[in-house]
Assembly symmetry: C2
Homo-oligomer: 215 residues x 2
Amino acid sequence: MSKVRVAGFSVSLDGISAGVEQSLSDPLGKRGTEIFQWYFHTQSFRSMHGQEGGSVGDIDDKFAHQAMDNFGSFILGRNMFGPVRGPWLDDSWKGWWGENPPYHAPTFVLTHYEREPLVMEGGTTFYFVTGGIEEALERAKKAAGERDIKIGGGVSTVRQYLKAGLIDSVHLVSVPVLLGQGELLFQGMDLHALGFSVTDYQSSEYATHLTLEKV
Amino acid sequence: MSKVRVAGFSVSLDGISAGVEQSLSDPLGKRGTEIFQWYFHTQSFRSMHGQEGGSVGDIDDKFAHQAMDNFGSFILGRNMFGPVRGPWLDDSWKGWWGENPPYHAPTFVLTHYEREPLVMEGGTTFYFVTGGIEEALERAKKAAGERDIKIGGGVSTVRQYLKAGLIDSVHLVSVPVLLGQGELLFQGMDLHALGFSVTDYQSSEYATHLTLEKV
């Protein structure tokens, strides 16, 4: 059965999943990289970005691998795709990831502004969806076939899908860092009432991995 | 040097440190006991409540022991002391803990309503402080001498002392549970701006222990 999953989603001890003031030089917002320290050292991350080495088969690498494995399509919020706000002035912005993005599958970008699909190298095509989260999910499900659909972020997109009851499984990474300011993941959201329980819990030296599922 | 510490303070994955609807039968609020599973199995907890057995020397027991060790005085919020609200109608309520409370030291209870000190067995005397958090801390410091002062809770009391910059060290226990509703520990509080960093991080099979200090 195809599932709708959030995976590899970091959150600070104080409940923050993105720093403030996202920009071209700070795609994760200020201090946002601090909640991804569990990820950067893994082979899964490094190989995805054309780098050698990295830890293999440890808890962090296992979850890093699962966080990009078996997805037939992806959904991203507009800010996850780039720092451009408002209408697309031209087609020059092609995402944060260069010519060969790490998705290698149809990737649906939520936006209020229409734009033609963007075919990238390596199997990623960005489709721009103006009809809202349900339309994006419907199209992503068709594209994914038997495989899973990943809600890739950012925080606002994940929160919208959670609140709408459209997510089956969430892999969170709780990182021992205080961000203090940024986008709050849990605020005003009762994940217990939405049916989620913590079904798996494992710690590495960098972070604690938690799997939330409806049971 | 005497320090002002919070210790053994549990918080759910979604940032909640007490359940809703505290009552005589639910001192920790609904589902509040779920965030203390790391504590109940330890020898430190069990011996404190006159029970035999329990885990010894593991991560949970080590922190459980530290959470009650070397304190010369304690400060508690009114709700941590009991379910009574408004004026003290009589002296019948003597805390949740029976005749011999686990403090064994002067214990200052924040309240808006005056009441005579209450001498219990085992060295605990409850003093009722109507002058606010700073007066309570001043009296607790005098009482503690060289030893530390523990801000014992509840959530509102800990938040007030944190925001006022009066706390030196916080031991939090992040528990892999979603409470969904209850008292939020971090809401509207920037612990990074208040000078705190995570200086220690250790996980057991029950929970993750984090020490926050000003460095």
